[in-house]
Amino acid sequence: MKMGIRLTAVILSLLVSTALFAADKPQSPRLDIGKGGQCVEDPKLMRKIHMDRLKHQRDETMHKGIRGQKHSLADCVECHASTKTNSVLGSNEAFCQGCHTYAAVKLDCFECHTSKRKVTAEARK
């Protein structure tokens, strides 16, 4: 019986300490997402596979001339650029830069591609 109480106490203390440790972990980045929620795929899935989808799409467009498909970088920027800056870069709240800084993954796309939302015809006037 004593043994049982001791075991429960140990397990409880372990649980409490892991909960406290979890609370110390840095929070996931707070992003300024132009348009939130589900876009082309489930957000959880997109977090994992967006690079593969983008790479597939880029080859299809570049070499085969297939355009207007849903996984294009231009469309990512179009929807998810910040509503304040019109860009997916520029701060740690920006859609692409925020997450890539958090995950410490180098972001090469925007050395060639524009990070800014295409200015709409209405905005140009």
Binding site: M62, H63, K64, I66, R67, H113
Partner: protein, 256 residues
């Protein structure tokens, strides 16, 4: 029992006829939707390609440049190209340049004329032959492009091109156009405005030339015998620059 068998037999017998009728009626509806007039299909209006379709070698894009119509002082095609593709006006010899005006002078008659020079979109492009990473490639519809994702910036293609059509980007760029990604460390050249062609439009230089009233640049499908460019090259003498190299360029010149 025999009745049932009989029924099944009839239904089996009837089935092919029903299918055939169904097929014929459905396909005629489909054809009516796609055909506007005999020989003219809906997709033809967008250069034979819907946006989601793969490009095919049934078309070959090309241009015919009429040197007699090209005005010596006019630079509209160059300006239009720079604006369309987000290129800055070159100030240094190392700055990127996709199209340039070349002055020609006949030493005997002293006639001075000019013509625009850009990537000639060869059928057998030397730049593609020398590329070590296959970044330089020819699309099925004859447009020669650089895949900057796999270009390592070795500049073999710049050396190989007999038309000096390619440029290397030496410095970091900002504010690129959405449709025209460009970046440091890669080679680039005239894309024949591929992003416009895929939308069914013409090239920026051809558009600017006709807007200026010169109509010296004619863009079209060299494989289509009914296209304006095919009809024109059948009726007038045109030439390929450095035709001795046997590259079969997609850009032809008239009156030089």
């Amino acid at each position: 029992m025999s009745d049932i068998q009989h029924d099944t037999k009839t239904s089996i017998k009837m089935q092919p006829n029903l299918d055939r009728r169904d097929f014929l009626s459905k396909s005629s509806i489909g054809l009516a939707g796609l055909t506007i007039a005999p020989g003219l299909m809906l997709f033809d209006m967008a250069h034979g390609k819907a946006p989601g379709d793969e490009v095919s070698n049934k078309v070959r894009w090309g241009m015919l440049i009429d040197n007699n119509q090209c005005e010596s002082g006019c630079n509209d095609c160059v300006t239009a190209c720079n604006t369309e593709n987000g290129l800055a006006t070159p100030t240094k010899p190392t700055d990127a340049q996709w199209i340039r005006k070349v002055q020609l002078k006949d030493n005997l008659t002293h006639k001075v004329s000019s013509l625009p020079m850009m990537c000639q979109h060869c059928e057998h492009p030397p730049c593609v032959d020398v590329c070590p990473t296959q970044a330089s490639f020819k699309r099925a519809d004859g447009i020669v492009l650089v895949d900057k994702h796999i270009c390592i910036g070795c500049r073999y293609c710049v050396m190989a091109c007999p038309y000096q059509a390619r440029s290397f980007v030496h410095e970091v760029l900002t504010d690129q156009k959405t449709e025209v990604p460009r970046g440091k460390g890669t080679v680039e050249s005239c894309t024949l405005c591929v992003h416009r062609i895929d939308k069914g439009e013409t090239t920026a230089c051809a558009e600017a030339c006709s807007k200026a009233g010169h109509n010296a640049i004619l863009f079209g499908d060299l494989n289509d015998p009914e296209s304006a460019i095919s009809k024109r090259i059948r009726s007038v003498t045109s030439t390929q620059i450095r035709s001795d190299l046997g590259l079969n360029t997609g850009v032809r010149y008239e009156g030089i």
